[in-house]
């Protein structure tokens, strides 16, 4: 108990800064919602798959799935957007995964905001570069 108290006091003496607290809270919330969103979309797609089974063009059996080669299902954003409306289980699941991949990107964006608010421009630059690298990876504009 006593230790807990010291630790709590120590914590408050280390970071009195309320912007940081604010951003921390926001980061927590963004991560939680991002994860829940991804899980909800993924679960919906998964349920659709379990109920409706594989659609034409998907692997039809376990054998087919296991003999699947890398790069068979290469996709692009326009193709994904087009197929969302048809609600194929695979595409719904894909969307869930994409949302999950995007959550860390949002987190870096929030860090960038934090450093802008702190006027710490070296770190604004650093987080901007990290953000760009992530964006390049995520948009798939490299390696294409």
């Amino acid at each position: 108990m006593a230790l807990d108290k010291t630790a709590a006091q120590a914590a408050s003496s280390i970071r009195p800064d309320s912007t940081r607290e604010h951003i921390d809270l926001l980061v927590t919330r963004v991560l939680r919602w991002g994860v829940l969103c991804a899980a909800a979309i993924g679960a919906a797609g998964f349920l659709l798959f379990v109920l409706r089974g594989p659609q034409p063009g998907d692997p039809q059996s376990l054998q087919e799935l296991l003999s699947l080669r890398s790069e068979t299902f290469a996709t692009t954003l326009p193709a994904m957007v087009r197929s969302i409306s048809t609600a194929r289980p695979d595409d719904v699941m894909r969307l869930g995964i994409l949302v999950l991949i995007l959550t860390p990107l949002l987190r870096v964006a929030l860090m960038l905001v934090l450093f802008v608010l702190k006027r710490d421009f070296v770190f604004v630059a650093i987080s901007a570069i990290v953000f760009t690298v992530l964006l390049l990876g995520l948009t798939g504009s490299i390696g294409r």
Partner: protein, 286 residues
């Protein structure tokens, strides 16, 4: 299009449900941080192309890290400045690793994987005794970027202030760790900790928290490349993601009751077994 109820098709559904269940259990019992168990377990048990298993594993890493991060962010242990600086190295490495992956044959990946796991055993075993490094002189980068910090240590009952040094060493190590992480679909937490604690002389607790903070971002950097390449197969990755997330949400309570030491005692033998198994697959004995 109602899917037929023939047996082939049913096997596929049962398989994906099993995978969900398995990932939930793995996450629950083994404190599966990165994809450390998902990659090795997917190919042998479910007989999948390792490139696709790695795609699923990277997704599981993001699920693990983002799921757990909500709790860890406010721990006052994470060194956010060091994290974002080192993410520069890991995310660049990760994008490169992800681009490189298709050019490596499966067998090479098995070998690399085994080596990588064995490599991360060292720091994990060393971590059994932890101490705060003293008399660390900050180098030019650490002074310039104000990387030093302080954290409340509950065990010591005081605030520990620390300095950071040898930033270029840590940065270079992080680049390699990021590359390997995206190449093999691992969170590589142990090696990130090594880069900070051995490389940059940061306290173990800070290194661990900061490494957890970085894992999700590193994985996301590589995941995008895998995703558009089509190596994240939805019916494989979704059950993995759902299982891991469920494990994170349900497992968090359980983990509080286990001591770190006990978890590591359970974990190290598991890793050894997996490493040997991958090695055997690499030389095609089994």
């Amino acid at each position: 299009m109602i899917g037929g109820n023939d047996g082939r098709n049913r096997a596929l559904r049962v398989d994906s449900l099993l995978r969900l269940l398995f990932c939930w259990l793995a996450r629950l019992t083994h404190r599966l941080r990165g994809g450390i168990l998902v990659v090795p377990v997917l190919p042998p048990v479910f007989g999948l192309d390792i490139h696709l298993a790695i795609g699923a594993s990277i997704v599981s890493i993001i699920a693990t890290s983002s799921g757990a991060a909500a709790a860890y962010v406010r721990d006052h242990l994470t060194n956010v400045r060091a994290a974002i600086l080192l993410e520069l190295a890991t995310s660049t490495g990760a994008v490169l690793g992800a681009l490189l992956a298709p050019f490596l044959p499966s067998r090479a990946l098995y070998f690399l994987f085994a080596g990588f796991l064995l490599l991360s055993l060292g720091p994990m075993a060393r971590r059994l005794g932890e101490k705060v490094p003293s008399q660390v002189r900050p180098d030019w980068f650490a002074r310039r970027l104000h990387l030093g910090g302080a954290y409340p240590d509950r065990a010591l009952g005081r605030v520990v202030t620390y300095e950071v040094t040898r930033v270029p060493v840590g940065f270079a190590m992080m680049f390699i760790v990021g590359l390997a992480s995206a190449l093999l679909g691992l969170g590589a937490g142990a090696l990130k900790v090594l880069a900070m604690d051995w490389g940059m002389r940061m306290p173990m607790k800070v290194s661990t928290a900061t490494s957890n903070f970085m894992i999700g971002v590193t994985a996301a950097a590589g995941a995008g490349v895998y995703f558009w390449r089509g190596d994240v197969v939805p019916i494989i990755a979704t059950p993995v993601m759902l299982g891991v997330l469920a494990g994170t949400l349900v497992g968090a309570q359980l983990l509080l009751r286990l001591t770190n030491r006990r978890v590591r005692q359970l974990f190290i033998p598991t890793l050894l077994i997996i490493a040997v198994q991958m090695l055997l697959r690499g030389i095609a004995v089994w």
